[in-house]
Symmetry: C2
Subunit: 323 residues, 2 copies
Amino acid sequence: MDLKQDLQVRIDEAFSAIRFPDKPADLYDPITYTLGLGGKRLRPLLVLASCQMFGGETADAINPAIGIELFHNFTLLHDDIMDAAPLRRGKETVYKKWNSNVAILAGDTMFALANKYMLRTRPQAISRVVELFNQTAIEVCEGQQYDMDYEKRDDVTIPDYIEMIRLKTAVLLAASLKTGAIIAGAGTTDCDFIYRFGINIGLAFQLKDDLLDVYGIQEKFGKVSGGDIIAGKKTYLYLKALESSGLQAEAFRKLYSSHDIDSPVKVSRVKGIFNELNIELHTRKLIDNYYQKALQELSGISLPVEAMELLREYTAVLMEREN
Amino acid sequence: MDLKQDLQVRIDEAFSAIRFPDKPADLYDPITYTLGLGGKRLRPLLVLASCQMFGGETADAINPAIGIELFHNFTLLHDDIMDAAPLRRGKETVYKKWNSNVAILAGDTMFALANKYMLRTRPQAISRVVELFNQTAIEVCEGQQYDMDYEKRDDVTIPDYIEMIRLKTAVLLAASLKTGAIIAGAGTTDCDFIYRFGINIGLAFQLKDDLLDVYGIQEKFGKVSGGDIIAGKKTYLYLKALESSGLQAEAFRKLYSSHDIDSPVKVSRVKGIFNELNIELHTRKLIDNYYQKALQELSGISLPVEAMELLREYTAVLMEREN
């Protein structure tokens, strides 16, 4: 775990060193504010860990690692406008603290900045890194669009949902890992293995997020217990329950989409139904399914097992979190 | 002029060949719609003309040319949200036809697509092309922020305004030209000359736009005569009139910022004051000033005069337009 902390320190130092111009204030203040909110900085860590694992230099990967985190934060800025989200990491979102226009433009600027950071790597890697980055960005936008579409649709299936979280969440984790691999000069086959490892970890990670929203120890700042239930979000838990609820499906759908019921009452009723239908177990099984697939992909990589220890440990920690 | 038409045909063909996925429809339909609105496609033409001028291959420049136009259209999509603009090129803007969220996300996707197109050029040019592109994108965002800031400020000076249009408009024209030059393998000094040529042409171009908004033959579709005056936009014409109006400055400021007066009456009164103060002449002089500076920069380029004929002719046409 020392190695992980070492990488984390490098990432934090790199972020602390970023300076933006003073003017125009309404463009750069929201960017500084957003980056100041912190976050796990999971994606840059994946870039560096993967690069190191494949024998690359951290120095070649640190700027693309920052670029990917800048991109991730940019998507949050724009998502918060679209989702009308007032809070992010326990603080006011940019669109609430300033306004939508500020959040749009600061986001656009962050995306451009992110692309500049992606370029600062080994010359031989630039083209593939930037291509992967922007292809991933397109897929993340597709995921966000599906997410919004699903709010209005009543016929969302479990495969639809998995495809949505693949695009919205998993591809960026996968791209982070592949970026590190490309920079380290890994072969195409290894790049594909690490990418698919990332996709499966990403799916497991998002499903775990959905699970913890209902069944987690609710001490995380900035998150409301049962937030997805209150919002009527069509998560895997909901879709699985709907599928399993037989004749009660219509009543359950009505309850879940309702906004008239007192929030704690709604959460408690929906959780009751989830419990009856064993939804927690179903979800944990699916998470483990994707986790096992991920490990299988990892085992395909042409590296000694020891080299992959950090990544395996780190993802195990991610998978085991219960809040 | 045959050469110019030849380039225009190549650009139109390249745009016609672009195909987007069918799904998600609310992501890709607005992009297809936006590109279908057409426009002058001035920026791709500058990329190709510059590339050709410096002896490069059009084939190496066509994709970055498309990328820059995609970027330009992305900024219009987001600007229209921020400016609450209902019409663009005589048609409903994306945010009006769909909604703000659709316009935000379609715009983000276009920016990512644009970056992918920027990569499709000579390997030796990629890094510099993508760096310039994203640095320019940041500056365009800064320009848009200043533009919005100035709406709320009463102390905007003429230099402030020139700096704003430099960022919002001129840098992208300059970057288009420099992109073509980089792809053609032009030397650093020549790249700098063509960039500064572009900045000065861009300033002249925007000032001409401002002038024609008041003094143009109003037959352009999608544009309202005196639109800037009706909106109370702090253009060079306004700032120069304010500077020249002496004791009447406060009354003029009040008139110009007013939204209570009937539009044709306001336009007629403001135009009356512009006429008294010779604002048209002042503006034409400043435009010519920047145009002459541009030609001076062009003359610094280490190419025979004949090689630069197309660019010189084309910019002359741009400068001479009266609507």
